[in-house]
């Protein structure tokens, strides 16, 4: 009985990580070129943007909210940075600050709608999503932004993406190997670390979890519930705008995109995070690992030349199986718990 208990505990806690390790092993054997530093770094790079967005989602999930607008905040930030650089010919610094402010502002509005106007979170952020998808296309009448484009006024836009801006999306640091680690990966890891520290080690994070579990009780314990809820959406807005900036710097242009896939993928990463270390709740470490998990899966499958549709299929399948595993086990061991 005890050993069975031990096994279950182990599965809950490490089952997902074992699965991840198994996947890595599988691909290392069957996909030539999968194993290796550059490949590993690339996986990180491929999930950096979704991962950063997912970390923001995690913060809103912690306060029992949900942010559907992140995808469109990211693409708005992408368009806005391009607009600032190419059309308004601002410096990289100004563009970055403006985008971060925009993200924070959208988060603030989301938060105020939810907290002050009592609009349910899904609704407020869905409305915001549509709003932004439309808004980001207004200045250029639905055109992508690139150097040399002709503006509606007839002028030609002369601004360029300066090297300093592209650097944040493209530069690679030499670590052991030449040009190994790209800036977005560093940013991803730093954001993950900050959010992890914030949620796990500071009193603010603790209070946000309290709000997510019982908002009234938290409020009656003196927590400024409104402040923290708004804060969660502001964080989510800022991380989404960081994601958009990285996208912009990687692409080097302001692409028209809806951001729906960014939304879905980052939500998936945040939700998969529930299964990591048996947390069964939103958590930053889990989110980062969830994002990596999807990255490993997609990278491995692509390397094995699996057609694109099998990737969604396998992604869904593994997601469901991994989570059934974790949640069925967790809930069984807790069954008495209500």
């Amino acid at each position: 009985m005890n050993s069975e208990f031990g096994l279950r505990e182990f599965s809950i806690k490490y089952g997902f990580l074992v699965l991840l390790a198994g996947l890595v092993l599988f691909f290392s054997i069957f996909a030539s070129g999968f194993a290796g530093a550059r490949s590993a770094v690339f996986i990180f790079q491929s999930v950096a943007i979704t991962g950063i967005l997912a970390l923001g989602v995690t913060c809103t999930l912690v306060v029992d909210g949900f942010d559907l607008s992140i995808g469109s905040v990211a693409t708005s930030s992408l368009m806005m940075s391009a607009y600032m650089l190419v059309i308004l010919e601002q410096s990289a610094f100004v563009a970055i600050i403006a985008c971060l402010l925009m993200g924070a502002f959208v988060g603030l509005v989301n938060g105020l709608l939810i907290v002050k106007m009592k609009v349910p979170d899904l609704l407020a952020t869905l409305g915001m999503m549509f709003l932004l998808i439309g808004l980001q296309r207004v200045p250029t009448e639905g055109r992508s932004i690139a150097t040399g484009m002709r503006l509606p006024s007839g002028e030609v836009a002369d601004g360029v993406f300066p090297a300093s801006f592209l650097w944040i999306g493209r530069h690679r640091f030499d670590v052991f190997l030449e040009k190994l680690i790209p800036v977005p990966v560093i940013i991803f890891l730093v954001v993950a670390l900050i959010i992890w520290i914030f949620l796990e080690l500071t009193r603010h994070g603790r209070l946000m979890y309290a709000i997510g579990s019982n908002e009234r009780a938290a409020s009656l314990a003196g927590t400024n519930v409104n402040y923290y809820k708004i804060l969660a959406y502001v964080i989510s807005g800022i991380t989404a705008s960081i994601g958009g900036l990285l996208l912009s710097a990687r692409l080097g242009r302001g692409d028209i995109a809806s951001g729906n896939n960014l939304l879905l993928d980052s939500v998936a990463a945040a939700l998969i995070g529930f299964a990591v270390l048996g947390a069964a709740k939103p958590n930053a470490l889990g989110t980062a690992i969830g994002a990596l998990f999807v990255g490993v899966l997609l990278h491995g499958l692509t390397m094995m030349n699996a057609p694109y549709y099998t990737q969604d299929f396998v992604k869904g399948g593994v997601l469901v199986i991994a989570l059934v595993f974790t949640f069925a086990l967790t809930s069984r061991s807790r069954k008495g718990g209500h």
């Binding site: 520290i197 500071t202 009193r203 603790r206 309290a210 579990s213 019982n214 314990a221 003196g222």
Partner: protein, 504 residues
């Protein structure tokens, strides 16, 4: 020999390594109220949950009217005539539905009630049920707009209307004041006369005195005493329940210090009278009164949860008008709210996190939590209050109700304050724990003023230096807790002008 309604033999239940029920034998007879007493965490609610099909037992058997009874789901129990009112009030009602649907909820689950809901019949039937308990609220009102007491009444009314053969009530009066409790007892008398077997769980001696035909005591998961000889030996029961003799409360009224709180011409509502009140350092004041007399409202105003209609409050001589609990705490006012499951318990947190949540900034440096300090202070509080648990990292939801209550009251004793407000701090707490908490509150009461809002007069007399009576949102009586005239207080509570009107 009377025919048995329910025969429990050798019932066992464990949660993981924690053995909660150890071979329980218990008989329930028709037409009899069996009171089950037991300290917090003794396993009473667990027993109830097995009887009503929420938990499965690990061993032993239950016979119902001679037939083996093994409910898998709550419906199974209903179908056999076993009806339960659960301890947690929130488990009894559905806030988003209206009163009528709530009263009829169990009927709606019945296949026989047809496919369509007839709104008219629903109302007629529900009003009948409401009538039984003398409930008077609008049947179209959503339950989310009602207070805990009303919710508890709804859950009770629904169970009563179900024509139970075995009725189980797990602390049904925890949020009720004397008036409603009396109504409940009258009903129970009626049910008793129709041969219903009743299992009644309570920590309130006044309830037990009024209703018990037989008392069974539980301690640490076993039966520790059965008392069925009239007159019932209440003292013996308490001893059997806690394992040793209970000492009388005996305290001396402390020396008043400077004035801390002053209410001047405070009106709770537009139409209520002024409240004028002074409360001093070192003083423990109990405010008692009927349901809806305005206790919680006053507590909420003191903690910045709501605003008074008019008048002003002074704290330490300064005008005090907090706009939210955070401000109140910063100004040195702590409040433990009533109804712990919605207002105090943070389900996803363990004991330590639940205890420390209001004062995290005292245990952090640059916002970073000092985990060691948190752990130590949690351990201390667990010790001081005698919280029964495996460790400070137990999930709060695995604690018994009374121990949860200790945690949520204990959190406000973690740090010194100038005014401590406790709204129904003894809700669901066993007599020993009540003394523990009471003593602890009194021990620590120096240097602050303490106000305790309780509906039970016993509880008020056990803890307070001064007892105030509230009725219809005004203070109608004030008594030093020394040779008090209980009858006078009861009159004031009920709001009648003379004692004779009160006698029933």
């Amino acid at each position: 020999m009377k025919k048995l309604a329910c025969e429990i033999r050798g019932l066992e239940k464990a949660f993981g390594p924690n053995k909660v029920l150890r071979k329980i034998d218990l008989d329930l007879f028709p037409g009899e109220v069996t009171v089950l007493m037991g300290a917090n965490g003794a396993g009473k609610s667990t027993l109830v949950k097995i009887l009503c099909g929420v938990h499965k037992s690990d061993g032993g058997s239950i016979n119902l009217f001679g037939k083996l009874f093994r409910p898998k789901k709550p419906v199974d129990a209903f179908n056999e005539g076993v009806v339960t009112v659960h301890q947690s009030i929130n488990d009894g009602v559905v806030p988003d539905l209206d009163v009528a649907s709530n009263l009829m909820l169990d009927r709606l689950t019945d296949k026989k009630s047809g496919f369509f809901v007839s709104e008219k019949n629903l109302r007629i039937e529900s009003e009948k049920i409401a009538e039984i308990m003398g409930l008077s609220f609008d049947s179209k009102k959503p339950v989310s707009e009602l207070g805990v007491a009303d919710r508890q009444l709804i859950a009770i009314a629904r169970a009563m209307a179900r024509n139970p053969k075995v009725l189980i009530l797990d602390e049904p009066t925890s949020s009720l004041s004397a008036k409603e409790a009396d109504r409940l007892f009258k009903l129970l008398d009626r049910l008793r006369s129709t041969n219903v077997a009743i299992l009644y769980i309570s920590h309130r001696m006044s309830d037990i005195r009024q209703i018990a035909d037989k008392i069974i005591c539980m301690r640490d998961g076993s039966i520790s005493g059965t008392f069925d000889e009239k007159p019932l030996d209440y003292e013996g029961a308490v001893t059997a329940m806690i394992g040793h003799k209970m000492t009388e409360v005996n305290f001396k009224i402390s020396e008043k210090g400077r004035e801390i709180l002053k209410l001047s011409s405070l009106k709770l509502d537009g139409d209520s009278a002024d409240i004028n009140l002074k409360i001093h350092q070192n003083e423990v004041v109990a405010i008692t009164g009927l349901l809806g007399s305005g206790k919680t409202q006053l507590a909420s105003i003191l903690f910045g949860v709501m605003k008074q209609f008019s008048g002003s409050i002074f704290l330490n001589g300064n005008k005090y008008s907090p706009s939210n609990p955070m401000e109140a705490i910063n100004l040195g006012v702590h409040m433990s709210p009533k109804d712990r499951s919605s207002n105090a318990v943070i389900k996803d947190f363990d004991i330590e996190k639940n205890l420390t949540v209001p004062f995290l900034n005292n245990y952090s440096w640059l916002s970073l939590l000092k985990f060691k300090g948190l752990k130590n202070v949690a351990k201390e509080t667990i010790n001081d209050l005698g919280i029964v648990c495996q460790s400070e990292n137990d999930e709060i939801e695995t604690l018994s109700g009374g121990n949860q209550q200790k945690v949520v009251v204990g959190r406000w004793l973690l740090r010194p304050c100038s005014l401590l407000v406790l709204d129904e701090p003894f809700q669901g707490v066993d007599i020993k724990a009540r003394r523990d908490i009471g003593n602890y509150i009194r021990e620590t009461s120096i240097n602050r003023a303490t106000i305790v809002f309780v509906a039970e007069l016993d509880e008020a007399l056990e803890i307070a230096d001064r007892v105030l009576v509230m009725n219809e949102k005004k203070i109608v009586g004030e008594h030093k807790n020394k040779n008090v005239d209980i009858n006078q207080i009861l009159v004031e509570i009920a709001g009648q002008s003379t004692f004779s009107e009160l006698s029933r």
